[in-house]
């Protein structure tokens, strides 16, 4: 009994500084008592329109949880990936939740604040299940790779393989086009992250993601530089969610597997 009271007291004490800051972040929200979130709505399973036509996914679930715990409402704005971070920098949203990779440039950016990791990911080889010629990272040299134009992964992949290994690269606008041309045989493999294609592979048996993950990286939410108090409040919550398993429960729900936050790589430096 006493233990329980002590524990509750400790929990309250831990929450106290964060509650005090809660009012500060509200003052700078774009809409009163509402966090405006930019997201693509077209990148399963982090941000997508589900079969019933509603916005859903890991990013949506995390933001809804955060908003509930902060006692504010949440409103989602959907647009193409290319406009998201520039839109955040231009003050169109309070945050961007769309699987943003925590690259060195973004962590150092003055235009927005990258929160601490909400997922651990890395680059992996995605190929046709029927393609026996690619069985590991060693087999991709000289093969034609498809990537998403403007994504962060091609850079990471070049670091993950020997120099001069991957030279034949074709750029596509999105996953749909990549998957189609993989099946059309125009590309031999897809160079993307591990978790996203794994989700697609769980729905489509023709596609396989090799289990070896290289260049571990983290992803998280980006918050407007105009509202550092919001970033502080959200970061405290994300740290707590990492500890108490909230994030991993959501990761498992949306990606079909858990991630190990203990193996979080250090932040990249430019």
């Amino acid at each position: 009994m006493i233990k329980a009271i002590l524990a509750a007291g400790a929990a309250l004490a831990a929450l106290a500084p964060f509650s005090a800051g809660a009012q500060d972040f509200k003052a700078k929200l774009l809409k009163p008592d509402t966090i405006v979130v930019g997201t693509t709505g077209s990148a399963p399973p982090t941000s997508m329109i589900d079969a019933s036509g509603k916005l859903a996914g890991y990013d949506i679930a995390v933001m809804e949880k955060i908003a509930a715990d902060l006692g504010v409402k949440v409103e989602f704005v959907q647009l193409d990936w290319a406009g998201l971070l520039p839109g955040l920098a231009a003050g169109r949203f309070d945050v961007v939740a769309s699987g943003v990779t925590r690259s060195a440039e973004r962590i150092a950016s003055k235009d927005f604040i990258m929160l601490s990791p909400y997922i651990v990911n890395g680059v992996a080889v995605t190929k046709l299940t029927s393609n026996a010629k690619i069985a590991s990272w060693d087999d991709v040299c000289g093969k034609k790779m498809g990537v998403i134009r403007g994504s962060n992964e091609p850079k990471l992949i070049q670091q993950a393989v020997p120099a001069g290994c991957v030279t034949n690269v074709v750029e596509y606008p999105g996953w749909t086009e990549l998957a189609l041309d993989l099946k059309n045989g125009r590309i031999d493999w897809i160079g993307m992250d591990y978790l996203g294609p794994s989700y697609a592979a769980s729905k489509d048996r023709n596609i396989t993601v090799l289990p070896e993950v290289r260049m571990p990286k983290t992803q998280s939410i980006a918050v407007s530089a105009a509202d550092p108090d919001l970033a502080k409040a959200m970061d405290a919550l994300i740290a707590r969610y990492r500890e108490d398993g909230t994030l991993n429960a959501l990761v498992e729900k949306w990606f079909g597997q858990k991630v190990d936050f203990a193996k979080m790589p250090p932040d990249p430096k430019s």
């Binding site: 399963p44 036509g53 959907q78 290319a82 231009a90 749909t176 189609l180």
Partner: protein, 220 residues
């Protein structure tokens, strides 16, 4: 197919959004574009030169670039129109430039000797415009105007880049959770084709109405 049925209300909303945005943009840009064309023809260089520059800039830039500018750059100077507002402003700016050229072409095709003739007959400027110039301009400009409109509907797909959930945005999102990309692409194509077809009927009616005594006449 399942995805399309489940998301049908989204497609319906998106179609409606595309239609009203298109009607608004067309109305505003036609009125402004036609007025500017008349000004450019009759007010001489001080007016026509800046207008030529304007038309050159906004016809030369891809809609995507104009829309992103309206959406991402205007808030920096304190003008925040939201996503639909930015899209409407961007499309209108581009639309005015094209309407200006269409009506300018119509005015140019009017034989200048006719104007001399009306002056010799003592007709006022307003009477000349109303009874002589405008009927000719309309005859020549209307088919091109309608042709432009029919093609312009599809351009509205670009609005998805600035958070407007129009038909192509909804289609892309549906494709992401579906295994029938070609079916959904055909659905989107049919929606645009249906709207464009209505405009093409309008185009056919207008060009028949305004070109009775003209044409190759090989059929006769």
């Amino acid at each position: 197919m399942d995805v399309f049925i489940a998301q049908f209300p989204r497609f319906l909303d998106a179609t409606w959004l595309t239609i009203w945005m298109f009607v608004l943009v067309t109305t505003v840009s036609t009125l402004i574009g036609a007025t500017l064309a008349v000004l450019a023809e009759w007010a001489g260089k001080p007016v026509s030169l800046p207008l030529s520059v304007y038309s050159w800039v906004f016809r030369g830039l891809p809609e995507l670039i104009v829309l992103l500018g309206c959406y991402l750059a205007l808030p920096a100077i304190g003008l925040d129109l939201g996503s639909v507002g930015s899209a409407i402003l961007g499309f209108t700016l581009v639309g005015i430039a094209f309407q200006l050229e269409i009506f300018r072409a119509g005015l140019n095709a009017v034989d200048k000797r006719i104007l001399e003739a009306t002056r010799a007959l003592g007709m006022s400027w307003w009477l000349t415009m109303r009874r002589v110039v405008l009927p000719q301009v309309i005859r020549i400009a209307m088919p091109a105007w309608a042709t432009f409109l029919a093609g312009n509907v599809k351009i509205f797909a670009v609005a998805s880049a600035v958070a407007v959930t129009e038909v192509m945005a909804v289609t892309r999102q549906a494709i992401a959770v579906s295994d029938q990309p070609f079916f959904l692409i055909m659905v989107a194509a049919s929606i645009y084709a249906a709207i464009a077809s209505i405009l093409m009927v309008l185009e056919a009616v207008l060009s028949r109405r305004f070109s009775t005594r003209y044409g190759l006449g090989l059929r006769r």
